[in-house]
């Protein structure tokens, strides 16, 4: 069987499974739509959280980025897992006890203010939407490379899929589809890693095998003039690595589509166990990712570097066609030279350009694994992109229909009308995200990391202080959210390459990926200070803050 047929088979089978689940789990109430009727057991909820959480960025991009960053790549690994500790101990149990459908609803109730709710709803839409556009693009890249169709059609196919099951199923459909998608994406990630691990070291456990391969890789790339793979701060400053890690952690704990997952369990206990299962399932991928990075880089330098270009392997040719892999024979010796610096920089001896985004997809080909493995990886990449996209769309829909339409525009709207608005909002968001996926502004990939900075600077301080400090007032929270998100967005817009103004990093040379940490600190300080200067919250709110400390009587999430 050819590779094309294997891929078609994998994609059709997995998509058929998702659609089947969506039809089986159809819902007709708003509660089922937003929080799956809270009937999801923690084991499956943890799995769905992991599927929801791990996007095209985790599956397709991250290992490639680590392969090029070396030690410093730890910032993605630690940032995107350490955030779950914050989520599990500082937020999840209390938000579940509080029992509202959405994060903006929590903000609105806790801060006794409709303004706060609107501000939060708009932040949620902005953060989720930028994130979803990247997922559509990711799905488009996978489709176009392996089905050899134009990227635009790849995005359209992905859009149609997401629209179908997210709109039909709501949270219940999404939850069980995400369970299936997690199973597929983790299988797809681990099989090639185990295969390559066996090839290189004879050990079937990538986590055990990769340090020794990294030590060998150190020797090879130091010969080529690079810094050691395992040495810290060869690519970024120590300050940047720390700030980016922190921004990703707090952003994880502030992202509405992750937080909302903890509402879908029946009890506070269930919310705690959801965190345990979620990080377990996430760690399976995240502890394998650095191994994939090391193996891929090792295989890359071993199979192509220093070899004649004319004898390049088949996978090299196919990826060259996509423009994501490029060779420029600067010294005209016909040999592929790999050296520090950019290939496009004439001053550098480097003749090879490899887009980090192709590492995971090309890895099985580089290692000569069978075609069916490549087909599974394709299905896994699509599962990662689509499961996250559907979770994000749900947040956009609930923010617009529940937090804005039902609360302000038509408080008397029936369940049917509200669901209609929610589904309409989803369709609109899919269409808009699809357009951005087909015609991406240059920065769609980077924006995934920026979305975390924005979430860290807006939601994280308002939620944590809302739970732990009864004295926090609506004035404080609104000031903090607005100042944090404005500062962070302004810095990203002025500094991030490819977005616009292109200023030098004007705040202590901090990179735009790490600025969310500064925005978050600013937000914390302003929230606390303004809260102390304004009249305290009404007594019933202070009582409410006290009640969420104790799990007893959490009951059902209230449709508010």
């Amino acid at each position: 069987m050819s590779l094309q047929i294997w891929i078609l088979l994998a994609v059709v089978l997995t998509f058929g499974l998702y659609i089947g689940i969506a039809i089986w789990a159809r819902v007709s109430t708003t509660k089922g739509f937003y929080v799956a009727g809270q009937g999801v057991p923690p084991f499956f909820n943890g799995m769905a959280t992991a599927g929801d959480w791990m996007s095209a960025a985790s599956f397709i991009s991250m290992s490639g980025l680590i392969a090029f960053l070396g030690f410093d790549g730890a910032m993605y690994l630690l940032g995107w897992t350490g955030g779950y500790v914050l989520l599990a101990v500082l937020l999840a149990p209390y938000l579940r006890k509080f029992g509202r459908f959405t994060v903006p609803a929590f903000i609105g109730d806790r801060y006794y203010s409709s303004t706060a709710r609107v501000v939060a709803a708009l932040c949620a839409v902005a953060v989720s939407f930028t994130y979803v556009a990247g997922q559509m693009r990711g799905a488009g890249i996978v489709f176009s490379r392996f089905l050899e169709i134009p990227i635009g059609w790849g995005v359209v196919v992905g859009m149609a899929m997401v629209a179908f099951y997210a709109v039909l199923g709501g949270m219940k459909g999404i939850t069980y589809t995400q369970v299936a998608q997690y199973a597929i994406l983790i299988t797809a990630f681990i099989i090639p890693a185990v295969g390559i691990s066996l090839e290189l070291t004879g050990s079937p456990v990538p986590q055990v095998a990769f340090p020794q391969v990294a030590a060998q890789l150190d020797l090879i790339i130091e010969d080529l003039g690079f810094g050691a793979y395992t040495s810290p701060f060869t690519n970024l400053s120590q300050l940047d690595v720390i700030l980016i890690t922190m921004a990703l952690m707090c952003g994880t704990a502030g992202l509405p589509h992750v937080i909302i997952r903890f509402y879908t369990t029946r009890t506070v206990r269930g919310a705690r166990w959801t965190g345990v299962f979620a990080l377990f399932f996430i760690a399976l991928l995240y502890t394998t990712a650095p191994a994939v990075a090391v193996f891929a880089k090792f295989n890359l330098v071993e199979t192509v570097v220093g070899e004649p270009y004319e004898e390049r392997p088949e996978w090299f040719r196919t990826w060259e066609d996509t423009g994501l892999l490029e060779f420029r024979d600067k010294n005209a010796d016909g040999i592929i030279d790999f050296a520090p610096g950019a290939m496009r920089d004439p001053a550098s001896d480097n003749e090879l350009f490899v887009d980090p985004d192709i590492i995971v997809l090309a890895n099985p080909e580089i290692a000569n694994l069978p075609d069916w493995v490549i087909a599974i990886v394709v299905a896994g990449g699509l599962a990662a992109a689509l499961s996250t996209a559907s979770g994000l769309l749900l947040v956009i829909a609930s923010s617009l229909s529940h937090d804005i339409f039902k609360t302000y525009i038509r408080p008397k709207a029936s369940e049917r009308e509200e669901l209609l608005v929610a589904r309409g909002a989803m369709l609109g968001a899919v269409a808009l995200a699809g357009i951005l996926g087909v015609y991406p502004p240059a920065f769609v990939g980077e924006v995934v990391a920026f979305a975390f900075g924005l979430a860290a600077a807006s939601f994280f301080p308002a939620i944590v202080l809302g739970i732990f400090d009864p004295r926090t007032t609506r004035e404080g929270a609104i000031t903090g959210m607005l100042a944090g998100i404005t500062f962070t967005a302004f810095y990203i817009i002025t500094v991030a390459p490819g977005i616009g103004i292109g200023w030098d990093p004007w705040f202590f040379g901090i990179s735009p990926q790490g600025i969310g940490t500064v925005g978050m600190l600013l937000s914390f300080v302003l929230t606390v200070v303004v809260s102390r200067l304004t009249p305290p919250p009404p007594p019933e709110i202070q009582g409410l803050v006290e009640r969420i400390r104790y799990p007893r009587g959490s009951g059902a999430a209230i449709d508010h």
Binding site: V89, V208, P232, T245
Partner: protein, 86 residues
């Protein structure tokens, strides 16, 4: 202070203490060990590679998971002991 109220405050204090301890470990393994001790730890070998590198890219993740597990187990026990369990 009525006894039930006192018990609830004790429950909350225990919860806060646990959170502070767990977050101190989180900060140690999220930042101090990988980014400050990492270069020094790299002189030791673990699984055939530099130790600092392994902690930064694998070891700390295992610690994070243990922290969440400990929190869930401890809090569920506390809930029962203080009778605030659902």
């Amino acid at each position: 202070m009525e006894p039930e109220r006192e018990a609830l405050e004790a429950y909350w204090k225990k919860n806060l203490t646990l959170i502070v301890i767990l977050l101190a470990i989180w900060f140690t393994f999220g930042f101090i060990v990988p980014y400050f001790l990492g270069p020094w730890l790299n002189q030791f070998t673990f699984l055939g590679g530099p130790l600092g590198f392994w902690v930064a890219q694998n070891g700390s993740i295992y610690v994070f998971w243990i922290l969440i597990l400990v929190y869930a187990l401890q809090m569920n026990r506390l809930d029962q002991r203080f009778g605030v369990r659902e």
